[in-house]
């Protein structure tokens, strides 16, 4: 049993660090870090229920984050009439062909067991025909869509629904994709599962980067609607101006801080909901069963537990959480930028969070998410401060010093590596280890 003291100490240290940033840099920076900390914590919770509860190594976190972000685009952006007019019907037709092909392929695969060695042939044939049909129906349509005002739109847009809805849709999308991925990969050995999921997340990244008709690809989708008021509107409101004078902060600064606080409130609600859910699950018979499967799969099987089904279930649940977090992140940024996704930042940093926080412990995951995101952002200013104070004897334009200051942005990778290796060596269970229930 870890003492409550330790948890209180670690969390108050985290709070203090954020307050320090607020005082030393600015409250805007502190709140921006805080908001991303919450999103990271939700992703970490999702990975924690896969790894900490069930021992599944998911290295496709980036993929689910992207799907969440894509959901934000598809739900909130208003539909682009011009592109729907030129290619909408053919795209829908292609979608129908895709679904039919998959259904027929699955049925054929199931019905052709008697062919034994040549079983894959008819299925592959159907997939090839389906693919050719899709290319024929959608090819010209995609070209037409992408050429319609390519600089401004050139994609189909979304449904124009409220952005908050996309958080749920993001979770559902991610869950659906996770179900498909899980169905085909979860039988693999753990390190192969990691490689397979890493590969699949790479495929997802390539799709959103290159299918311009859907996501605008590298041209990015900007101006995703917000769930909270815009600064400029706030500044013109009388009650807001009065409030700002009342607490004696310039209206402009107060408006940005106010907006960030609104985001924080929304994000915290989601975080609390997921923590409550995860804790409930952990302490329920279901959670006990998951741990039993993780600790001794053969024994669990012998007790009549359906291990494959439980693995799939936990994989889908965890991925859904990551999807929600992905949609939240795109909402916060107000834009969807496929180029910014890299496995290092969106998969492996989350892993560092889980391991450092303590796998199997939800509080630990939250702490890990907060702490690691904090260092990920702050390692740059801390690095600059360290370098300028240690190389003080060198002249300002000394080449060594200049090079160090220039490359300080890359310190964060090294910091992550060192933190991960140190924690694995000296506290392999993480800062807040799993509790015996």
């Amino acid at each position: 049993m870890i003492s409550t003291k330790r948890k209180v100490f670690l969390f108050s240290f985290m709070g203090l660090a954020l307050v320090c940033v607020g005082l030393l840099q600015s409250w805007n920076v502190a709140l921006a870090i805080f908001n991303m900390c919450i999103i990271s914590a939700i992703m970490t919770l999702g990975v924690n229920i896969q790894w900490g509860y069930a021992g599944l190594f998911n290295a496709g976190i980036m993929g689910f984050t992207i799907i969440g972000g894509l959901a934000a685009v598809l739900v909130s952006i208003p539909p682009v009439e011009a592109t729907w007019a030129v290619g909408g019907t053919n795209i829908l037709l292609g979608l129908i062909i895709l679904i039919t092909t998959i259904l027929i392929a699955i049925t054929v695969w199931k019905k052709t067991k008697s062919l034994e060695r040549y079983r894959y042939l008819p299925t592959i044939l159907i997939i090839i025909i389906g693919y050719a049909l899709i290319r024929i129906t959608t090819g010209p349509a995609i070209e037409a869509i992408e050429n319609t005002e390519a600089a401004k739109t050139g994609y189909l847009g979304g449904l124009g629904l409220p952005i908050l809805l996309s958080w749920i849709v993001g979770g559902v999308f991610a869950a659906g994709v996770a179900w498909v991925i899980g169905k085909i990969t979860l039988e693999l050995r753990s390190d192969y599962l990691a490689i397979a999921t890493l590969g699949i997340s790479g495929i997802i990244l390539y799709i959103v980067k290159n299918e311009d008709w859907l996501t605008r690809g590298v041209k990015n989708v900007n101006g995703i609607p917000r769930p909270v008021p815009y600064e400029i509107n706030l500044q013109n409101e009388l009650w807001f101006q009065n409030l700002a004078t009342f607490i004696n902060v310039p209206v402009r600064d107060f408006s940005t801080i106010f907006v960030k606080c609104c985001y924080s409130a929304l994000f915290l609600t989601v975080l609390f909901f997921f923590v409550w859910l995860s804790e409930k699950a952990l302490r329920s018979p279901w959670g006990r069963m998951m741990r039993a499967i993780r600790d001794n799969e053969i024994a669990a099987r012998a007790m009549g537990k359906n291990v494959s089904k439980r693995h799939l279930q936990v994989f889908v649940l965890g991925s859904a959480m990551i999807g929600v977090a992905g949609a939240m992140m795109t909402t916060l940024e107000g834009q969807f930028t496929p180029m910014s996704f890299t496995p290092l930042r969106y998969t492996f940093v989350i892993w560092v969070m889980v391991i450092v926080g303590g796998s199997g412990n939800n509080l630990g995951s939250i702490l890990g998410g907060f702490l690691i995101w904090f260092f990920w952002v702050e390692s740059e200013p801390i690095g600059i401060w360290l370098i300028s104070s240690t190389t003080g004897i060198l002249a300002d334009n000394h080449p060594v010093r200049v090079h160090l200051i220039e490359s300080v942005a890359h310190m964060r990778y090294m910091t992550m590596g060192i933190i991960l290796l140190l924690v694995l060596r000296f506290a392999p269970k993480g800062l807040i280890p799993e509790e015996k229930l």
């Binding site: 390190d191 990691a194 790479g202 390539y206 290092l344 992550m416 694995l424």
Partner: protein
């Protein structure tokens, strides 16, 4: 007849030669992963960064040589730098081994934890590389650019299509052949190589026969360091050196290793070429080839391309996933070196 020759030239120029080159680079990378897997029994996620580290060392030493005015005639100076760069990479491998991996090997930790540890090394190495050389694109290829120029080939044969062979392509294929022969000679003919195979085959039995595990591990890292440096440097020489690209390159490399059967060197080589050729075959536009072979009335209007070239690396991801699903043990199954 001329049409057939033209289309063959076209295929050689755009698929066979680039395929052999890229395949060689993948094969060397996959051999490194296979060696670590066979002896240390874990999937080394940091291998891509190790290749990047080797390429970076090569660039730094090339610059040093160039600043002394030292060049290698019509060949790239980088070839002279590779042995020195390999030494640096080997030292780095040995340092990570004794500081990080050795502790866990003695504790006999499970492969998944090992994998997470290699992620830590990946982060550190990625940071170190960007810290030393920065994230920008570097070109370090000097010497003659071509062995055979497209124009010369056209004049020589009188065909419509040209065939160009870049110096880097020739070098890559040549070095890979030499290195692979050397590696197999080492593994099959020398005492140390045999002890490595024995250790990989059955650890306990090898220990009983008096094989020193520490020595085996050190030799493994030395070989891995050499392979990673050569693979990374050749890839950087052929394309150009971008630190971030190695994070993506590690997946085709893994795909090659797994396709052939992890732990099996022949498998790694075959896997490398299969992956390279499938990437090219699936993303090549066959319009021109069909134009030569088919009668004019049947000439195609589209590009006849399975996938757009943007999906080149994605092809290898798909193959990776399919192999893992259909035959996770690979073509040449069994984990022996």
């Amino acid at each position: 007849m001329v049409d057939i020759l033209n289309s063959l030239t076209l295929l050689t120029n755009y698929i066979i030669i680039p395929g052999l080159t890229y395949g060689s680079q993948l094969a060397l990378g996959a051999l490194g992963i296979t060696m670590v897997y066979a002896v240390l029994r874990f999937s080394n996620f940091a291998h891509g960064e190790l290749m990047s580290f080797g390429a970076m060392s090569t660039i730094l030493i090339t610059w040093l040589f160039q600043s002394y005015g030292l060049t290698f005639g019509f060949l790239p100076t980088a070839l002279l730098a590779i042995p020195f760069a390999a030494t640096i990479t080997i030292l780095y491998c040995l340092a990570t081994n004794s500081l990080v991996y050795e502790y866990y090997r003695e504790k006999k930790i499970d492969p998944t934890t090992y994998l997470i540890i290699s992620v830590g090394v990946l982060f550190f190495t990625a940071g170190l590389i960007r810290f030393i050389i920065g994230p920008d694109d570097r070109k370090f290829n000097d010497g003659n650019r071509f062995i055979l120029k497209a124009r010369e080939f056209k004049e020589l044969t009188g065909l419509n299509e040209g065939l160009a062979i870049k110096t880097t392509q020739g070098i890559t294929i040549g070095i890979t052949i030499c290195l692979v022969i050397l590696l197999f000679w080492f593994l099959n003919r020398t005492r140390t190589g045999k002890s490595m195979r024995a250790y990989s085959d059955n650890e306990d039995l090898a220990l009983l026969s008096g094989i020193n595990p520490k020595k085996v591990v050190i030799i493994t890292w030395v070989i891995t360091g050499i392979l990673a440096t050569v693979a990374g440097a050749l890839y950087g020489l052929d394309k150009s050196y971008k630190p971030f690209i190695y994070m993506y390159l590690v997946l085709p490399v893994f795909a090659s290793a797994i396709l052939g059967g992890v732990g099996n060197p022949i498998g790694a080589i075959v896997g490398g070429y299969v992956i390279a050729f499938s990437e090219l075959i699936f993303t090549f536009a066959y319009k021109k080839v069909a134009g030569y072979l088919l009668p004019e009335s049947l000439a195609p209007t589209g590009l006849i391309q399975f996938l757009s070239t943007d999906y080149k690396i994605a092809v290898s991801f798909v193959i990776l996933v399919i192999v893992l699903l259909v035959k996770p043990t690979g073509i040449f199954s069994g984990k022996t070196i």
